[in-house]
């Protein structure tokens, strides 16, 4: 069984078998290449095609076969002669004087400009990457990785790929393939030669191998040993390379499929919950979602968002499948249909979102207004230290009478525990009640607390605590961990000591006699508005500190950490180790 094509040649219609068509096309292309310096090449090729048709006519006169086979084409070439023979007999333009220049002209003029084609010989999806790689002259792996990375940038790579796919024609003929690589078309001859000789060589090689097997002379075998060794090595390396490539593309493919499938499942579960179980007691929300039950906009909106998310994921899985099977898993119609659905889903979701947004906003505002309460907790005046954990926001000011006022929603306030131990006030917010519930559109303002204290000497923060304080002086100790934030405006402080870890952040303002700081991990301290007479700063592991010192600065930066000194310290002691850096405003030290 063979595919056939219908063609016209010299004004006559023919039905040609596929392989015969390939041979015929190669032949015509080679002739065209031979005479491409001739300004009348088109006319010449047309004449020759008419001549070929005459030859076929004569052949077909003998029998009644309507279809041209490879044998017919080969017989025709036999009669017409090989392109090289034709050109040799009658060089382009025929004038002998031109002959010496021909080779020169050919090498000069034959470097055709590159054209952008998709490469059908190296395909993962549609040959876009390999075509681009050939055009840009870089390795195809680089282009593919670039596209995969770009695919994760809001799907930009996927869109770009589809556009390229539509815009780039596929290189089907040998000439197009050569143009794709920008090689001179003369190389076609070499390519053809290789193609034609390949079968011959493999047959001859087999024969040679058989001969070698027959001739069991040990001496001969010994002589051939190095050759065979090199050959075996080359084969092994080729095999390893192909296995590695397959393995890598397989891993990428499996990763894409697994990630896509997990994301798809999660999206589907979320969508199903929002569509069918919105009134479940396990779902917590600040929005009165039950009001939406029965509103078609809600259901359409959820469905639209679902499709907007699920379609790119489906593409991702398809790409994964293509990587695993190394065969194009995409179908143009499918892609077009999915893309249209995706755009429709995106615009629907946007429109419904715009519809529902004002409703959600008013509901949230109502909610908060209704639920926010104020609560006062009595504390004694002898409290002078703080330990804050959880995500409470605390504002501390100086006053003669100690007081503590919480503001927030009742349910949030219920989670705050307040204890006093040895003069230390402990505030802890934990959300144990939340566990085991799914929170949809939850709006958490957290708890705000106003604290007034006559005296304060030590503050310790953990988790996500956020403290701001004003008006304290004397000796102050700040200990910050985790993601906490301390913002302090001090007055006439004597000794400020800070100890920071993790991602904590401290901002200091005012003036102090001395500042002693220690920062670890990714901690940040910004004391550029704190005028310190003297400072001792140690930073470790990516920590950053900014200080303003007038007297003595002792700075020690280790392991990629950085200390920036503003102002003009009278005396400095600098230690830098393990890529740690200490710099002043000008970047010196």
């Amino acid at each position: 069984m063979k595919k056939t094509l219908s063609i016209t040649l010299g004004g006559r219609a023919y039905i040609v078998e596929e392989d015969a068509y390939g041979a015929l096309e190669r032949y015509v292309n080679k002739i065209r290449a031979q005479f491409k310096d001739d300004p009348n090449v088109d006319e010449l090729v047309a004449d020759m095609e008419a001549g070929m048709a005459d030859v076929f006519e004569k052949q077909q006169g003998k029998r009644k076969e309507p279809v041209l086979t490879l044998t017919d084409v080969e017989a025709m070439i036999q009669v017409m002669g090989a392109p090289e023979e034709i050109a040799e007999e009658e060089p382009a333009m025929g004038s002998a004087a031109k002959e010496p220049n021909r080779d020169e002209a050919r090498t000069g003029a034959s470097l055709r400009p590159k054209r952008l084609y998709r490469n059908p010989d190296d395909v993962v999806i549609a040959g876009v990457c390999s075509g681009l790689a050939a055009y840009l002259g870089v390795d195809v792996v680089i282009v593919r990785i670039a596209f995969i990375i770009a695919a994760f940038l809001n799907g930009f790579g996927i869109l770009a790929y589809i556009i390229f796919w539509i815009a780039m024609p596929e290189a089907t003929t040998s000439t197009q393939k050569l143009e794709m690589r920008g090689k001179p078309v003369n190389l076609q001859e070499i390519e053809e030669l290789v193609k034609e000789k390949a079968t011959k060589v493999s047959e001859e090689g087999k024969k040679a191998w058989d001969r070698m097997q027959d001739a069991k002379s040990p001496a001969r075998r010994f002589l051939e040993l190095p050759v065979r060794f090199v050959g075996a090595c080359a084969r092994v390396i080729l095999k390893i390379v192909s296995v590695v490539i397959k393995l890598i593309s397989g891993i990428i493919g499996v990763a894409l499929i697994v990630a896509g499938a997990i994301a798809m499942a999660a999206t589907t579960v979320a969508a199903a919950v929002m569509l069918f179980s919105i009134q479940s007691p396990y779902i917590q929300s600040d929005l009165p979602l039950h009001e939406l039950v029965g509103d078609p906009r809600y259901y359409i909106g959820i469905a639209a968002v679902y499709f907007a998310v699920i379609i790119p994921l489906a593409f991702l899985i398809q790409i994964g499948g293509t990587f695993v099977t190394r065969r194009n898993q995409f179908q143009t119609t499918g892609i077009i249909v999915l893309t249209v659905i995706w755009f429709a889903a995106i615009s629907t979701a946007g429109a419904i979102g715009a519809h529902l947004a004002p409703w959600a906003q008013t509901r949230l505002a109502e909610n908060e207004a209704v639920q926010t309460i104020t609560q006062e907790v009595a504390i004694s005046d002898d409290v002078n230290a703080l330990l804050l954990s959880g995500d409470t926001r605390l504002h501390v000011t100086r006053g003669d009478v100690a007081s503590l006022i919480f503001t927030g929603r009742e349910e949030d306030l219920a989670m705050v525990t307040t204890t006093v131990e040895n003069g230390q006030l402990r505030l802890d917010t934990s959300r144990q009640e939340d566990r085991g519930r799914i929170c949809l559109f939850c709006h958490r303002a957290g708890v705000r607390a106003e604290l007034v204290l006559p005296e304060l000497t030590a503050i310790e923060t953990r988790n996500q605590a956020h403290v701001s304080l004003e008006g304290f002086g004397g000796d102050l100790l700040f200990t910050a961990e985790d993601y906490t934030h301390i913002d302090a405006e001090v007055e006439e402080a004597m000794n400020i000591t800070t100890d920071q870890k993790d991602y904590s952040r401290i901002i200091l303002e005012g003036a102090t006699q001395s500042l002693t700081s220690r920062l670890e991990d990714y901690a940040r301290m910004d004391a550029h508005d704190l005028h310190a007479a003297s400072a001792t700063v140690r930073t470790i592991d990516y920590a950053r500190a900014v200080v303003r010192v007038t007297g003595l600065l002792d700075a020690d930066a280790q392991d990629y950490s950085r200390i920036t000194s503003l102002g003009e310290p009278k005396d400095t002691t600098i230690h830098e180790s393990g890529f740690g850096k200490v710099t002043n405003e000008m970047g010196a030290y």
């Binding site: 004004g11 001739d38 005459d54 009669v79 050109a87 009658e90």
Partner: protein, 116 residues
């Protein structure tokens, strides 16, 4: 030492190549002919091996203004190019056939003289 047959064939091809243009001009001088007619004559006279050679030659003769063609309907199949000689072509034909006769005469005389 006799020349090997391969080289004899080679020389023959060279000779044919030299006179192919004259042959073609002769055939076209017969009247309006199309490529296949010319090829038939050349085949009969064993003057051509690679038929494809004719087309670039015709193309050159046309470019040099020695032949012209017009399209004519054929009994079977599509219209064909029918070639005929121009005045200049007839001139060239005369000059070339004159040159050939001279060459043939002197060659024959030489061969006869030394009777190969």
């Amino acid at each position: 030492m006799p020349q090997n047959p391969q080289e004899t064939t080679n020389i023959k091809a060279q000779m044919r190549k030299g006179v192919l243009e004259l042959c073609v001009l002769l055939v076209i001088d017969r009247g309006e002919v199309y490529a296949n007619d010319i090829l038939q004559e050349l085949r009969a006279a064993e003057m051509i091996v690679v038929e494809g050679t004719l087309y670039p030659l015709l193309s050159r003769l046309k470019n040099d203004g020695l032949v012209s063609y017009n399209w004519s309907e054929s009994k079977s199949g599509p219209p064909r190019k029918y070639y005929s000689l121009t005045a200049e072509g007839r001139h060239t034909l005369q000059a070339q056939s004159g040159a050939w006769k001279e060459l043939a005469a002197s060659m024959n005389a030489l061969i006869k003289k030394y009777s190969v």
